[in-house]
Structure formats: structure tokens, C-alpha cells
């Protein structure tokens, strides 16, 4: 899931300082699961903003609405009849959702209330760890299911580097060396030959926004 963290309160307050009527739009998918931007977090932020602006004798009218997914037109449609009543929108969705919201209502200023942080896993309630950098060249089949791009400090496709030290990374002894973990796992699976395969570098240069059309979903050509 995409993991986000709420922006510092003062930053959010400052972003909307010139507006009087705000609609705070939450997202009921990833950011709701990671407790950053769902219905409850919208309510807490709105209460904070309401109180802070009243204390400044500059009250705002703030409302909240949480859509199922902000990265999906089907769900954004529910906002169409509401946004006209507001001066600006605050979004608690991930960066993709915020942009999709801004794209749908180009005449409304849209402000982010969260910082999108990583793609990660849920270790416990409220505790998330990064596992994927969406590099578009997955090598997990060769690395025993451990991502070297995410887990290695250098993001090496081919490792380990000279900094590996008794299972730890050279940057910090508490940081495990990803390539040591990969070695251990491949060794346990009797697949150490995989580590010898050389993966070519990812083409990060001149990268443009990527598009994916799943097989069977391409729109038919117009005739």
C-alpha cells in the first residue's frame, strides 16, 4: 500500500491561510489504511484547523468528504456537486490522488495535507515499513524476494558492495545489508546461482510519467 504522513500542522495552516471556505477531501483506500488521510484523519485535521483559525479571529468554514479512492474518476464524481461551494480544496490522498483531484477541478486551488512517503507493508497497527520503490524492473525473482533497490542503501541491482560488514550496512550497524540477506535466503533455498546473474542498470534518465494498460484493457481503435 501507499504510505503517507500528515504534513506538519503549521504548513497546512499556512497553505490555506488566504481561504475562507475549504473542503477537505479524504481518501478511503491506502492513506486510510495507514491512518494518514481517511475519514477520521479528515475530522481531526478539520477540528484543528477550525480551532486554530478561531483563535486567530479569522474563522473558516471547513467541511470534509472522504471518497472511496481519489485516484479513480468513478469516485471523484461524488464531489462534482460539492466543490462549487468552496474556495479551495485540501486533499489528504497520496500524490496521485491530489493531482487527480486538481486535474478534475482545474479552477480550484488544491493543497496537499499529507506527504506521500513510500510503498510499504503493515508491520503492526500504525507501523509501516518501505518495501518497494516502483522501479519498473522487478528483480525479486533473482533476489529471493528481497528488494535490493529499496533495502540496499545504494539501491544496487548487483551486490553486495564493499561496505557489507558482518550482515550490516556500512551506513549503520543497525541497518541490515540487503545483499547479505539476499545471500542468506538464496543460500537457504539452494539458489545461490541467481546471485551471479547480472541485472543491467535501470534507465532512470529522462524518465517520463509511466503508463500501464493491462492486457485485455486497451481501448479499441476508433474507425
Amino acid at each position: 500500500m501507499i504510505v503517507a504522513q500528515r504534513k506538519p500542522f503549521d504548513e497546512i495552516k499556512n497553505l490555506i491561510k488566504d481561504y475562507k471556505k475549504i473542503l477537505n477531501v479524504g481518501c478511503g483506500t491506502c492513506v486510510a489504511v495507514c491512518l494518514a488521510g481517511g475519514e477520521k484523519e479528515v475530522a481531526v485535521l478539520n477540528a484543528e484547523l477550525d480551532m486554530a483559525r478561531k483563535l486567530e479571529d479569522n474563522p473558516i468554514e471547513i467541511d470534509g468528504f472522504t471518497v472511496e479512492r481519489q485516484c479513480d474518476r468513478e469516485y471523484l464524481e461524488a464531489l462534482d456537486s460539492k466543490v462549487k461551494d468552496f474556495d479551495a480544496l485540501l486533499s489528504m490522498a497520496c500524490g496521485a490522488g491530489i493531482q487527480f483531484l486538481a486535474e478534475r477541478y482545474p479552477d480550484k486551488p488544491v493543497f496537499p495535507a499529507v506527504d506521500t512517503t513510500f510503498i510499504g507493508v503493515n508491520q503492526d497497527v500504525g507501523w509501516y515499513e518501505e518495501r518497494c520503490r516502483s522501479c519498473s524492473s522487478c528483480v525479486l525473482g533473482l533476489t529471493g524476494g528481497i528488494c535490493p533497490v529499496t533495502m540496499c542503501a545504494k539501491g544496487l541491482y548487483n551486490g553486495p558492495c564493499g561496505g557489507t560488514n558482518q550482515g550490516s550496512c556500512e551506513i549503520d550497524k543497525n541497518q541490515p545489508c540487503a545483499w547479505f540477506m539476499i545471500y542468506e535466503r538464496l543460500s537457504a533455498q539452494n539458489r545461490l546461482d541467481c546471485i551471479l546473474e547480472i541485472t543491467p542498470p535501470s534507465d532512470w534518465q529522462n524518465q517520463v510519467p509511466r503508463t500501464v494498460i493491462q492486457p485485455g484493457y486497451k481501448k479499441p481503435e476508433k474507425v
Partner: protein, 118 residues
């Protein structure tokens, strides 16, 4: 026991302090209450194992949120006692009332008739 405690204290019963949510506490202050405190069982004695510990975390979180907003975080507090400690309950009510009196009224009180939709 017929113990006296300040009349300004209004009790809201919950099945366990683990039921008390951040929004419950935020809303009380937003609506103009001068203070709010959560009284839970003694730490380590929760019938539901961690309800009072969760409440403590939430109270601490609300204190931080109130500080961010520009209010005194200490308008919200957590107390712990066992169900057999009536005099301690009354003592905490007095202590909290005196503490809030020192802080003065909630500056949001003048807005308390206004409504917040979310």
C-alpha cells in the same frame, strides 16, 4: 460514601477508556469545554488488557494537537485509579478543576455556538 466533587465536572460513561477516541477529546475542546480528562483503570489492570494504555497514548496525542493549534495541551489529562477508590476520584476531580481554573477559560468558548460540519 457521599463524597463531594466539583459540580462543573460532567461525567460521560464509556465501557472502557479504550473507547475514548482522539475526536471525542478534540470535540469537547472545540465545542468550548475548558478541559477534559479521562479516568481509566490502573495501568496493568485493564480488563481488556490495553484499553487504558491506548487511552493514555490518545490523550498524549490530543495534548500535542492542542499545542499545535495554539491551546494549552494540559487542558486534556489522563488519570488512573481502581474502581474502589472513590476518594481518589473526588480528589482528581478537584485537582483537575483547580488546574483548569489556573489555565483560565477556553478561548474558543465565544465561538461555541458556531457549528463545525465535519
Amino acid at each position: 460514601m457521599r463524597l463531594d466533587y466539583p459540580v462543573n465536572v460532567k461525567i460521560i460513561r464509556v465501557p472502557c477508556t479504550g473507547k475514548v477516541d482522539v475526536m471525542h477529546l478534540m470535540r469537547t475542546i472545540q465545542m468550548g469545554a475548558d478541559g477534559a480528562y479521562v479516568v481509566g483503570c490502573l495501568e496493568g489492570s485493564c480488563h481488556y488488557k490495553q484499553g487504558n494504555l491506548r487511552a493514555r497514548e490518545r490523550v498524549m496525542h490530543v495534548q500535542k494537537l492542542l499545542e499545535e493549534v495554539g491551546l494549552e495541551g494540559d487542558r486534556v489529562r489522563m488519570y488512573n485509579l481502581s474502581s474502589g477508590e472513590g476518594p481518589t476520584f473526588a480528589a482528581y476531580a478537584k485537582e483537575m478543576t483547580e488546574h483548569i481554573k489556573k489555565l483560565g477559560p477556553n478561548p474558543l468558548k465565544k465561538w461555541s455556538t458556531a457549528t463545525n460540519k465535519e
